[in-house]
Every structure is written in structure tokens, then in C-alpha cells.
């Protein structure tokens, strides 16, 4: 019986190794707590199975998930504080223009939005052959509170779906378009 504990430990280690073997190269899980940089960032899971016309490299998938999590962290903070400077560098193009405008108008009206982010399931649906653009569908679990000053106007707590266009930069992936679409399973 004394030999049972080491045997159980050994069996557990073997199972752990086995589960690692089953890790799919196209599926990346990013735990926000793993990265000091993204300590308060939400959890993002990227599924790139069957991506066309170009497959995704593992490192690319990890980078996208990391910066997407940071983008949501920064966006939530900027929408709550009504400070567009807090958007960080993750947004460019239409996405940045629209968010900047919204934050300016929120500030003007005294409205602010608080997002409690319970995580994102990303599905990569398009990756151009030259690697210049990727399209993602994001199924997000969010609790969104709209406030006027300290007065709570509205709370929404339902799954949301976003269509996201990301493009690569020198050291990161940028969100170029972020559009909420009708929520339906994908």
C-alpha cells in the first residue's frame, strides 16, 4: 500500500503528459493571470480550426489572443472613465475612430459604461493568404451597465457577438474593426 501514492502521482503525471499531447496547435487558451502584462485582462480563447485560406501559426494565435484581451481591458477602462487616452495602442482605423468619438460623446453627456467581462470565445473565420488581415467572431460574456453619473440607467447581461477585423503590426495585432452583430451560436 505504501507504493500506491508514488504510483498514483506517476499515473497523474502520465495523464498530464497525455493531455498535453492532445493540445491542438490551432486552439489557444490564454489565461489572463499567466501574463503580468495582462493581469486584469479578460480570458480569451481562440479557436482557429479549419481557418482558410491560410492556416494560423501557434505563436500568431497566442499573440492575437493576448492583444485582444488587452484591447478589451483597455476599452472597458476607457468607456468607464471616459478617457480615450486609456484605449492604448490596440485599436486603429475605424475601430479607434468610433471608440474615440463615443467616449467624447459619453463625456459630453455624462454617460459612462461599466463592463464586467466574463471572457471571450474567438473563432478565426478568415486569414488572408498574405497574412495581412484576419477576421474573428467573438462570443463574449459581458455584463454591461450604463450609468449617467452615479445613476444606473440600464444593465444588460446576455451573450454578445462581435465581428472583428485584425491586422498585424510590427510587434502586435491591431483591432481595425469591431462590430457587434446579432448573437447566434457559431
Amino acid at each position: 500500500m505504501k507504493g500506491m501514492a508514488p504510483m498514483r502521482l506517476s499515473l497523474q503525471l502520465s495523464l498530464n503528459r497525455l493531455s498535453l499531447c492532445f493540445f491542438k496547435a490551432s486552439s489557444f487558451v490564454l489565461a489572463a493571470g499567466l501574463l503580468a502584462m495582462a493581469q486584469s485582462a479578460p480570458q480569451v480563447h481562440l479557436d482557429a480550426d479549419g481557418l482558410a485560406p491560410r492556416p494560423i501559426e501557434e505563436l500568431t494565435g497566442q499573440t492575437i489572443a493576448r492583444y485582444y484581451a488587452l484591447a478589451w481591458r483597455d476599452m472597458a477602462s476607457a468607456l468607464d472613465s471616459n478617457n480615450a487616452a486609456g484605449l492604448g495602442e490596440e485599436f486603429v482605423g475605424f475601430a479607434k475612430d468610433r471608440l474615440t468619438r463615443r467616449i467624447a460623446e459619453q463625456k459630453q453627456t455624462g454617460v459612462h459604461v461599466r463592463i464586467v467581462d466574463h471572457g471571450h470565445r474567438l473563432k478565426a473565420v478568415f486569414y488572408s493568404t498574405d497574412g495581412a488581415a484576419m477576421q474573428l467572431l467573438d462570443q463574449a460574456e459581458l455584463e454591461i451597465q450604463t450609468l449617467d453619473g452615479n445613476k444606473l440607467l440600464d444593465t444588460q447581461n446576455a451573450p454578445r457577438e462581435y465581428l472583428v477585423l485584425v491586422t498585424p503590426g510590427a510587434d502586435r495585432w491591431y483591432i481595425r474593426d469591431l462590430e457587434e452583430v446579432s448573437a447566434k451560436p457559431f
Binding site: R102, V111, F126, T129, T146, L153, D154, R160
Partner: protein, 295 residues
């Protein structure tokens, strides 16, 4: 233990009734705010609001936030500029309490194409070597998510062109095609409705084909010159492409790299005794000649 008197019971009953009425009034008002489920971007509309007295109206959208005082009992006018960005909007109406309802703004008709063609230069007759990706946007630069037909027209400088129709998915249409047989400019146009964008890819000669060298000896020197260097489709390789001449004689092995000028590569080498000369362009090898004896 204190017993509940009849007057206490009546008081609790009234309180419960008031709470129920308050909850029902809130529910009724929430049910009364009925924006359309979907609206096309840039289209004005109105939301009827029953009731009376003053209230505050809020519209919270992806790029726009509105707050204004309204009189209940009249329609809430949503202007076209309030709903330009596609996405989910929330309308909120507050008097003593707040009620809200969502609606979705969908992109309008295709008005812009963002078209990427890759690569800018491509060898002729290469399968699946040209990629075109078109993003379909409306006039407000919302991605048009409704499937739209995108026609890709491929027009080579010589030879007949061809077209391919692709339906966009999530606002993206892409195609992949072979490069054609002849070098030169190929124009690729993406069109959706009345919108079109053109890009150009330059087709260049592929690898050398049937590479041949001839040698003209003169004393212990030999002049080497290739035939015009072409690919298998007959396209001339561009000037500057490097041709390697290799000589093996009794002194050993010598290689000279020389660029193509005006379609041919030419060089002069000294040879010692009988020599074997070969020619290559990259990994493509040509013929061999022997000098100081029979050519």
C-alpha cells in the same frame, strides 16, 4: 410573542399592493418602448412613447451617444446621423424609473471596396499564385455582412481575360488564381454593384528553360555566349538574372557569374588544355561543351 393586529395586516397588504403596482408599471413601460429590431445604417426613424410628462432619453451606440429631454406621449425621433455605425444600440427612457430596449443597425448597400492583391510580382504559369481579397463596406464604412456578389475580372496584357464571381461572407470575398502564360501587366478588378477597384500584378518570366551555351575558342581564351534565355513559355528572362559558367580544365574548376544583358549572357574565360564547360541559371542546368578539341 407579539400578534399582528388587523391594522398592521392592512398596512402590509397596502404596501404589497403598491410594490406590485410599481413593478407592473415598470414592466408595462418597458414593454411600451418598441424600437424596430433592425434599422439600415443612416436611416431616420421614430419610436412611439406613450405616457405624459417630461423624461430623459438616451441613445447609446457604437460611436454615438445622445442624451436629451423629451416629453412623453410624443414620438422619439432618431435622426439618420444618430445611426450611421452598424452594431447594437440601446435606447433608454427615464422618468421616475428607467426602461430600455435594444435595436440593431445593419450596414447599408455596398459603397466601398477595400481590395488587396497579392503578390505584386509573380512568375508566369504558376498555380494558385495570385490572391485577391475584397472587403465590402457601405457608405459609412460598415462591413456589409449580408452576402454580396463580388466579381473579380482578370485581364492580362496579352491573351484572353476571365472573370470569377464570389459571394462575400462576413463582408469578405476572396479568390485565388493561376498566373497566365505571358509576362507583363495583369489587371485584376473587384466589383460589387456599381463599385469597383482595380489593382495590377506584374507577371515575370519563370525559371529558365532549355538553357544553351556556345563557345568560340581563340588561342587559350574562349568566348561563351548563351542563346536568348527564356522560360518554358517563351518569355525572356529579365536582364540582371545571373547565369553561371563553370569550366573544368587541368588547372581545376572555375565558375564565373554573369548577368543577362539584352536577353543573353556573355563572358570570356582562359582555358588550359582540354576543358569541359557547363552553364546554369539558379538550379536549372543547361548544356555542356568541350573546348580545345571538338566543340
Amino acid at each position: 410573542m407579539k400578534r399582528t393586529s388587523r391594522s398592521d395586516f392592512e398596512k402590509y397588504r397596502r404596501l404589497a399592493m403598491l410594490a406590485l403596482l410599481w413593478a407592473l408599471s415598470g414592466w408595462a413601460r418597458a414593454a411600451d418602448l418598441h424600437p424596430p429590431a433592425t434599422v439600415e445604417a443612416g436611416h431616420a426613424f421614430s419610436i412611439p412613447v406613450p405616457g405624459s410628462g417630461p423624461g430623459t432619453f438616451y441613445l447609446v451606440g457604437p460611436d454615438h451617444v445622445v442624451k436629451r429631454d423629451v416629453s412623453l406621449g410624443s414620438d422619439l425621433e432618431i435622426e439618420s446621423r444618430d445611426v450611421r455605425a452598424a452594431g447594437r444600440y440601446q435606447v433608454i427612457l427615464c422618468d421616475s424609473a428607467c426602461t430600455s430596449a435594444p435595436f440593431e443597425v445593419k450596414a447599408a448597400q455596398p459603397a466601398h471596396l477595400s481590395f488587396f492583391l497579392h503578390p505584386s510580382r509573380v512568375p508566369v504559369s504558376t498555380p494558385n499564385s495570385i490572391d485577391g481579397t475584397a472587403f465590402v463596406f457601405d457608405q459609412y464604412f460598415n462591413l456589409v455582412l449580408t452576402p454580396a456578389a463580388v466579381d473579380f475580372q482578370i485581364t492580362p496584357a496579352s491573351g484572353t481575360g476571365f472573370a470569377r464571381r464570389v459571394s462575400s461572407r462576413h463582408g469578405v470575398a476572396w479568390m485565388r488564381t493561376d498566373s497566365t502564360k505571358h509576362e507583363g501587366r495583369v489587371q485584376v478588378t473587384a466589383a460589387s454593384g456599381s463599385v469597383q477597384e482595380a489593382r495590377v500584378v506584374q507577371q515575370v518570366a519563370a525559371e529558365a528553360c532549355a538553357l544553351r551555351v556556345k563557345a568560340v575558342p581563340s588561342g587559350n581564351m574562349v568566348t561563351l555566349e548563351t542563346d536568348p534565355v527564356r522560360d518554358c513559355s517563351g518569355n525572356t528572362l529579365p536582364d540582371g538574372t545571373v547565369i553561371s559558367f563553370t569550366t573544368v580544365d587541368r588547372e581545376g574548376k572555375t565558375t564565373v557569374d554573369t548577368p543577362i544583358k539584352k536577353g543573353v549572357a556573355r563572358t570570356q574565360l582562359s582555358v588550359h588544355g582540354r576543358a569541359q564547360i557547363s552553364v546554369a541559371c539558379g538550379v536549372i542546368e543547361g548544356n555542356e561543351v568541350a573546348v580545345n578539341g571538338k566543340l
